[in-house]
């Protein structure tokens, strides 16, 4: 009797053991190494780093391994680790124009300075399952030479750093597009991870939120803007992926020094804007940025960013995709996953309270029905008497 809620402690310990076992799977197969995940599941790693908001390929790979490939769980693991890290300061803004580009495409111009560079993409694969990959890894030839080739290719790219001005900068020559220049006297952007989100939210805060936002959520919302749930006529002005240097000003030196390199994907969407009484018709921008190679995320983010600028541009607010509070409050998958799944926790106290209410209301209802049927007959008699 009364065992239903007892023994929680032992159950939890047993559950940990079972989890370890089920994560490992069939032990006749070799265990995945973190290095394998980092190198061979690089797109998963990119997503976990982006939404986990830590650029660390090894930790992201570890989180993916520990989460048995559940990326939202892996993102959560990385975020929980991130909380404990000390802050040394903020880096200089990244200059993506100096990116060592591995891929760069524009859908608005056939050719442009710096050229189009297709790079590694799934875009023009024909999505046929490649059964050769099912064969054992040894068949794929010597891994080390492959690795060397990739490195050489990368080195070659770095040797010929061709200037690649952004497409939006080129359009600016004619003044056709608004420019993203910091306003003089504009406050430093806030840090969403150190200050609570509040509304109205500045664009800097919005972009931070979207960068950490769930790819699936942004994809669906970005898609909705294309289907009429916002005023959006987007063109992919430019998508670029490659590595950029990260610089930080060190107090001891008094100048910015390079502290490393990171891979990023950047997307600038070009959208129509009808203009207003003060501003002539012009193109406007939506912006997306993600760690690693994350094109879908960066593009969806750019669509949503543009939709969220509706108020600032004086457009009619007609859709949830333009509602800043709605979008920013629901974009985070660590929050969303936690709250949806907290329904697994016991709620028997609240449910008991509801049970008591429903039983009482039903009893009252039954009593009322009985009452109303009696006066009715009384009424009939009165009528007959009259």
């Amino acid at each position: 009797m009364y065992v239903a809620v007892k023994g929680g402690e032992r159950a939890i310990e047993a559950s940990w053991r079972l989890l370890d076992k089920s994560r490992r799977g069939d032990t006749r197969l070799a265990e995945l190494s973190v290095g394998q995940i980092r190198e061979q599941l690089r797109l998963s790693v990119a997503r976990v780093m982006t939404e986990g908001s830590v650029y660390d390929e090894d930790l992201a790979a570890l989180a993916i391994k520990q989460a048995a490939g559940d990326l939202v769980e892996a993102i959560f693991l990385l975020r929980a680790y991130r909380t404990t890290l000390p802050r040394f300061g903020y880096t200089q803004p990244l200059d993506s124009e100096t990116m060592v580009v591995e891929r760069r495409i524009s859908a608005t111009f056939k050719d442009l300075p710096g050229g189009q560079l297709l790079g590694a993409t799934y875009d023009y694969t024909q999505r046929l399952l490649d059964f050769k990959l099912m064969a054992d890894a040894q068949a794929n030839g010597d891994d080390s030479t492959n690795g060397q080739a990739a490195q050489q290719q990368r080195a070659a790219l770095q040797e010929t750093p061709e200037a690649m001005p952004r497409v939006v900068t080129l359009l600016n020559k004619e003044g056709l597009i608004e420019q993203e220049t910091p306003l003089s006297g504009a406050p430093e952007p806030g840090d969403l991870t150190r200050e609570p989100l509040s509304f109205p939210a500045s664009r800097a805060t919005r972009l931070q939120n979207l960068a950490r936002g769930d790819e699936g959520f942004l994809l669906a919302m970005g898609y909705a803007t294309q289907r009429g749930y916002a005023n959006s006529h987007p063109f992919a002005g430019e998508i670029r992926f490659g590595s950029v240097t990260v610089e930080m000003e060190l107090d001891e030196l008094g100048e910015a020094v390079e502290i490393g390199e990171i891979d990023i994907t950047e997307c600038q969407m070009i959208n129509q804007f009808a203009g207003s009484t003060e501003v002539p018709p012009t193109f406007t921008q939506g912006y997306g940025l993600a760690f690693g190679h994350s094109e879908r995320k960066a593009m969806a983010m750019a669509l949503v960013d543009r939709a969220l600028r509706a108020e600032e541009l004086g457009e009619t607010l007609a859709s949830p995709t333009q509602d800043i509070e709605f979008m920013l409050s629901h974009s985070d998958n660590v929050e969303a996953s936690g709250f949806v799944q907290h329904l697994k926790l016991p709620h028997y106290v609240d449910f008991q309270a509801e049970l008591e209410l429903v039983r009482r209301l039903r009893a009252q209802h039954a009593a009322q029905v009985e009452q109303t049927s009696q006066p009715d007959t009384g009424h009939d008699q009165e009528e007959q008497a009259a």
């Binding site: 009797m1 939890i12 404990t84 989100l197 926790l345 106290v349 209301l361």
Partner: protein, 305 residues
């Protein structure tokens, strides 16, 4: 802080986890939370935004309460954690284990021994003292959210103390159902000013909040808000003159300890749907049964002598 000398459970856990700060959070974060707590205590019932952190437990599973506890706990504290009134539910066990690992403090199941009680969905039946702090886990700190989901709008309503919406909602309940159909998370006015959510405790527990000697702190991690009810503060559950606030009552007594005053959980004990009612507060129920055993023991001894 006011640790009693006897502790029921000497934690069978590892001492504080290596590589992490005491109570997991770094000191800067604790300071930030304490500042929000001070403001919350100074303005009873007002929701103070705070920079809630990602915790190693999921949002929605008590991260707000955990952060508040982590910010106030000291080495000499004794912690009790309950969920649905019980120390043994998996989430309560997990949170207690978290603090045992990250602080090494003593934990207890006895309400009277604890200096800090972290709770989800209940207030203990045993009255609290002015030496104790009750930390609530809060899913939605905004009492108006079902009526107005926009946080920015709700802030205005609170600033103007414009609580007409909720009165209309309660009035409509009465018109539809003959009584107020809110049974848990029943809205209260704290210190005659701010409309506040008591967290999803059953309304049965609401009267315990009024003039309680203990400090009551509410942490909502996902929604990034903290609010507080200082000791001996007026807390009024919303009602109307002709429809006064009422708490739940049961026709049954607890099947284990016979209490007629405590909040009862219902359990289905066989396929025919036979029901049994027992205290939701496991420590209270356990205590009463021990006392009863002592008494019968004493009587038996008396008889044999």
């Amino acid at each position: 802080m006011n640790a009693p000398e006897t502790q029921l459970a000497s934690a069978p856990y590892d001492s504080a986890a290596e590589g992490y700060n005491f109570a997991y959070l770094d000191e800067q974060t604790k300071r930030m939370i304490r500042r929000s707590l001070l403001k919350a205590v100074a303005v009873p019932g007002y929701q103070v935004p705070f920079a809630s952190r990602e915790m190693p437990l999921p949002f929605g599973w008590g991260t707000g309460g955990i952060q508040v506890t982590a910010a106030i706990i000291g080495r000499s504290d004794t912690l009790k954690v309950i969920d649905q009134g019980s120390d043994e539910t998996t989430n309560a066990v997990n949170i207690r284990r978290f603090f045992a690992r990250t602080t090494g403090v003593a934990t207890t199941r006895r309400t009277s021994e604890a200096t800090i009680v972290q709770t989800r969905h209940r207030i203990p039946e045993t009255p609290l003292t002015d030496k104790q702090i009750l930390v609530y886990q809060v899913p939605m700190p905004e009492p108006l959210f079902r009526l107005e989901p926009r946080v920015a709008e709700c802030k205005k309503l609170h600033a103007l103390a414009d609580y007409g919406l909720i009165s209309v909602k309660l009035y409509e309940d009465i018109v539809h159902h003959g009584s107020i159909a809110t049974t848990y998370d029943y809205p209260v006015i704290v210190n005659e000013r701010y409309l506040s959510s008591p967290s999803p405790i059953p309304k049965f527990d609401n009267p315990k909040m009024h003039m309680n000697p203990a400090l009551q702190l509410f942490g909502a991690g996902r929604e990034r808000r903290i609010h507080a009810i200082p000791p001996y503060t007026k807390v009024r559950s919303l009602d109307f003159d002709d429809h006064p606030f009422e708490i739940q009552r049961w026709e049954h007594a607890c099947a284990l300890c016979g209490s007629k005053e405590s909040f009862l959980d219902e359990m289905i004990v066989d396929d025919a749907g036979k029901r049994m009612f027992v205290c939701s507060d496991s420590d209270y129920c356990h205590d009463r049964r021990e006392q009863q055993a002592d008494q019968t023991g004493a009587i038996a001894e008396g008889e044999s002598a």
